[in-house]
């Protein structure tokens, strides 16, 4: 992220930022709720240079959301440059051929809009929301930073310091920050997903201005970008502006490098005990390797995630937090990415409890999902929760644009923003049980016990 508010970063705030948006994307419900989801009537076109444009005209507020999705993410960090894609994202707010440092802020914030960006495992997304009369200005600006970057040593060093502070703020200062890095590092052995997107101080220090230029030339090109525009505009006018400012950017002839490494199937449980400073209560993370985002199993995995961990009626909250009082936090996250999915469970223990005991209680809830189908009421509840979240996302132009971007870039078809609803609705209790049985096996499991380093006794800092 370019900017986050100073908020508590608890467990679950992983670097796979897009998952936070993507999580609620699959959808369905009882007919009553499904009927209320308005179809997103989008238009797509592709310029001769390969830039894809998806737009939705909506005049309900005098604003417009503009997003540019680049199909490059943290998994594309160069060797020895962990954290680079994200550091690069920060540099995209510095000078270009036609813009001075931070001019994007002048064109957005200064006129009542805002901008931000995030780097996920598979994509980097830049977005702004502005009063709709500024649409042409922002299209010009986005095209300008796609066409050229003009960074210098001074602003590179200063921005790298900002990223180091971001690392400290999100991963060093808060309890459990380091656990989020370990989840990535221990869950993957071969795929670059093993390198946390925030990087580390040494590899950030190793990055050079030349790396920035090379990365821009390699990945920031029209045939690797999708422009999404949602809001108050005239379609014809939009097309003309897009042609004028983006159409003149040449399409490089060099091939686009792609990550081809794949994570081998896990062949046996792996266990780790990790010690860290500043661990008020011990924690447990358990991960399973699951299919990628485009898999047909994604829908059932989303439903399983919701039944397991969304809300106080979810199975994990009910069993581990409410009844057994063994955990003070119990989360599950189906972090489905482009190349592989990672299903992550995180527990922060209640005080006085012990990691082995908590792990056992978690595994027994997972077993219960495998042993018997979920009830019809649980299934319907999960679908209602997912669909209501989807409605919340569609309250704003920026939310709609994020949904479209995910469908177009990560799922490969913008139409999925509309059709996934029916797919999710079709998920049965048997589907959920099948994916649980298939993927949540002993040999597909990684377990991390996360305890205070000051003592061998895991309860050392847990007692009151």
């Amino acid at each position: 992220m370019r900017l986050a508010t100073l908020s508590f970063i608890f467990l679950g705030a992983t670097l796979a930022v897009v998952a936070a948006h993507a999580q609620d994307k699959t959808r369905a419900a009882t007919p009553a709720l499904t009927d209320e989801i308005p179809r997103l009537n989008y238009r797509t076109r592709t310029l001769p240079n390969g830039l894809r444009v998806v737009s939705v005209e909506d005049h309900s507020s005098p604003t417009v959301a503009i997003q540019v999705w680049y199909h490059v993410g943290s998994k594309d960090d160069p060797e020895g440059r962990s954290g680079f894609a994200h550091l690069f994202e920060h540099m995209m707010f510095k000078s270009t051929k036609n813009m001075k440092d931070e001019m994007l802020d002048r064109l957005t914030e200064d006129v009542g809009g805002f901008n931000n960006a995030f780097t996920a495992d598979d994509v980097t997304v830049y977005y702004e929301v502005v009063p709709s009369n500024y649409l042409e200005t922002l299209l010009w600006a986005e095209a300008d930073r796609l066409a050229s970057l003009n960074v210098n040593e001074e602003n590179f060093r200063s921005e790298r310091d900002v990223v180091k502070e971001e690392f400290r703020q999100n991963y060093v200062a808060p309890p459990y920050g380091k656990l989020n890095l370990l989840v990535e590092q221990r869950s993957f052995t071969k795929h670059p997903y093993r390198r946390p997107g925030i990087g580390n101080i040494e590899e950030l220090n190793a990055a050079t201005l030349e790396d920035v230029r090379r990365f821009h030339a390699t990945y920031y090109r029209p045939d690797n970008a999708t422009l999404i525009v949602v809001g108050d505009f005239d379609a014809k006018q939009l097309d003309a502006w897009v042609d004028k400012y983006f159409g003149r950017i040449p399409k490089p002839t060099s091939p686009l490098p792609r990550v081809t490494a794949r994570e081998p199937e896990r062949i046996g449980e792996r266990r780790y005990t990790e010690r860290a400073p500043n661990v008020p209560l011990p924690a447990v993370a358990v991960t399973y390797l699951v299919p990628p985002q485009r898999s047909d199993d994604a829908f059932a995995l989303r439903v399983a995630e919701t039944i397991l961990a969304r809300g106080e009626s979810s199975r994990l909250y009910r069993a581990l937090v409410y009844e057994q009082q063994i955990a003070q936090f119990a989360g599950a996250n189906a972090d489905l990415r482009e190349d592989h999915g990672l299903f992550v469970f995180r527990l922060i223990l209640a005080s006085g409890k012990e990691v082995n005991e908590a792990e056992k209680a978690l595994l027994s809830e997972i077993e219960r999902m495998k042993r018997a189908p979920v009830s019809p009421a649980e299934l319907e509840k999960a679908k209602n929760q997912i669909i209501t979240n989807l409605l919340r996302e569609r309250e704003t132009n920026n939310g709609k644009a994020l949904a479209i971007g995910e469908a177009a870039v990560l799922l490969g078809d913008p139409e999925r923003v509309n059709t996934d609803i029916a797919r999710l609705q079709a998920v049965t209790a048997a589907d959920v049980q099948r994916v649980m049985q298939r993927f949540f096996t002993d040999k597909n499991r990684v377990v991390i016990h996360y305890v205070a380093e000051s003592s061998g006794n895991v309860q050392a800092e847990g007692g009151r």
Partner: protein, 494 residues
């Protein structure tokens, strides 16, 4: 967002007028004519039991509705030894009623796709739900049940107590959260607004069921409440629903207790510089705090614009100096936390331990500069636009709309102020901001709190603030304005 275009044109001109040394530079295209924006107009009605019902309809919006029941009493009413009482009371509402157990409440609301949140804050306790419009009747029935009929089972109190203590244990280990807790004590001493809303480990231990029952009986009554419903619903339908679910809520014969006053005690009038020495801190949290204003202050809009210039938003001065210019932080910002009584003005950031003193000094310097240096229109105009844009974006969601309307209702302000917001901000000039900064935000009244590894910055900090107080993390006592635990009283817990 009308009226902004002229201003922004000016900014563009300034930004681009310097001829590019790089030659063939292109100018960004100018904006087209602006379109105006209008927010929903809230309508209201009072039920015969005194409950004020407000509806903010958005007929064309996404089919979602937020309902929020606001009790006009919050953590400021906690007795000094029972910090956390208001929050505990609110949290326990959803943990069992005459008709439903805690799991049944969670099950019922989540089956509708909604979630029910109950908590206390300063000046108010709230219960709210956000659901698909079609499910509002069922959801509002559950909301009414938990607000009116909670039974406060001992077993649930114990469970909630353990959860609160565990949450506090985690929060107290975050430099940023801890610095804010300490800042409230430094500013308010032993007066209301001084303790953490959720209480401290010691006060949470003391809460008894009788306290909770009494708090609920005293404050949760229709003539001390406001129900706000916003989103895609017709006012008539919302009023009818409110009448059906809250109409028979009895108003007690006893008079309403008057709200607590936050009289700042003598001991905390003197600005202090307090360092909480936390040797394992991965980063230092630096907070500047001083008295701000009441929500109903006549200077409210001057204050909001002043804050926008100083530390509200990415391009504010604080973030410019600390992050953009020097790379000292991931972000620095400030806020005026306006309340019924005078709330805090807080600037906060996190930086590596070595630069904590430098950042504290920058904050003070910027506050001085706000009062004394010129504020050109080329800076003021964009900061006003940023403020207006933020407001307008918050109003886009049903949650944001309802929160805004509820806040006006809580402080007895005109509900249609939302449609005057843009005009009110535009009317503020540079002189207003400077006068406000000089008279109401002077740096000489600022307190500084740093939570971090003292070894890295204490020597330098002492040169600037010879009177600074250093308190070891283990000796910190959040229960009093003195902040230091008396050795003999050192608590070991249950």
């Amino acid at each position: 967002m009308n009226k902004m275009w002229r201003a922004s044109l000016m900014i563009l001109a300034v930004a681009l007028v310097c001829p590019g040394a790089r030659g063939q530079q292109e100018m960004p295209p100018s904006p087209g004519p602006p379109r105006s924006v209008r927010f929903p107009t809230p309508v209201e009605k009072s039920l015969s039991n005194g409950l004020r019902v407000i509806v903010a309809p958005r007929p064309q919006g996404v089919p979602l509705v937020t309902a929020l029941l606001l009790i006009k009493t919050g953590a400021e009413a906690d007795p000094p030894t029972l910090g956390g009482l208001a929050d505990m009371t609110a949290n326990l509402l959803t943990k069992g009623t005459k008709r439903r157990t805690a799991p049944e409440i969670a099950e019922a609301i989540e089956a509708l796709g909604g979630s029910l949140d109950a908590s206390a804050r300063w000046d108010a306790s709230t219960v709210s739900v956000n659901v698909a419009a079609a499910r509002l009747p069922q959801a509002l029935e559950i909301l009414s049940d938990v607000a009116r009929n909670p039974i406060f089972k001992e077993e649930e109190l114990e469970r909630q107590r353990r959860q609160t203590l565990d949450n506090l244990q985690v929060a107290l280990r975050q430099p940023g959260a801890l610095a804010r807790f300490v800042a409230a004590r430094v500013l308010f001493g032993d007066a209301p607004y001084a303790h953490p809303v959720s209480g401290t480990p010691e006060t949470v231990q003391r809460l008894r069921r009788d306290d909770v029952v009494r708090f609920h009986q005293t404050h949760y009554r229709p003539d001390n409440a406001v129900l706000v419903i916003g989103g895609r619903i017709a006012p008539d339908a919302a009023f009818a629903l409110a009448e059906r679910l809250f109409g028979d809520w009895k108003r007690p014969a006893t008079p309403l207790p008057s709200p607590a006053k936050s009289e700042r005690s003598q001991s905390n009038r003197k600005p202090r510089v307090v360092v909480i020495d936390k040797p394992d801190a991965g980063q230092a949290a630096v907070v500047l705090v001083r008295p701000g204003i009441k929500r109903t202050d006549a200077d409210y809009f001057r204050a909001m614009v002043a804050n926008s210039v100083f530390g509200g938003g990415y391009s504010s001065r604080l973030n410019q100096e600390i992050r953009i210019r020097r790379g000292l932080s991931y972000g620095a910002s400030s806020a005026l936390d306006v309340r019924r009584d005078v709330g805090p003005f807080i600037a906060a950031t996190q930086t590596k331990n070595e630069t904590a003193d430098e950042v504290a000094e920058l904050m003070l310097k910027e506050l001085d500069r706000l009062a004394n240096d010129d504020l050109p229109d080329t800076e003021l105009t964009p900061r006003k636009a940023a403020l207006i844009g933020n407001f307008a974006r918050n109003m886009e969601t049903t949650d944001g709309l309802v929160t805004q309307v509820a806040s006006l209702a809580l402080y007895g302000l005109r509900l249609d102020e939302i449609n005057d917001y843009i005009r009110n901000v535009q009317a503020i000039g540079a002189g207003d901001v400077q006068r406000f900064a000089r008279e109401r935000l002077a740096a000489k009244d600022a307190r500084i709190v740093i939570v971090g590894d003292g070894r890295a910055f204490l020597d330098d900090l002492r040169k600037k603030f010879p009177d600074l107080e250093v308190i070891k993390e283990k000796e910190l006592d959040l229960n009093s304005g003195a902040l230091r635990r008396a050795r003999a009283l050192k608590e070991t817990g249950p």
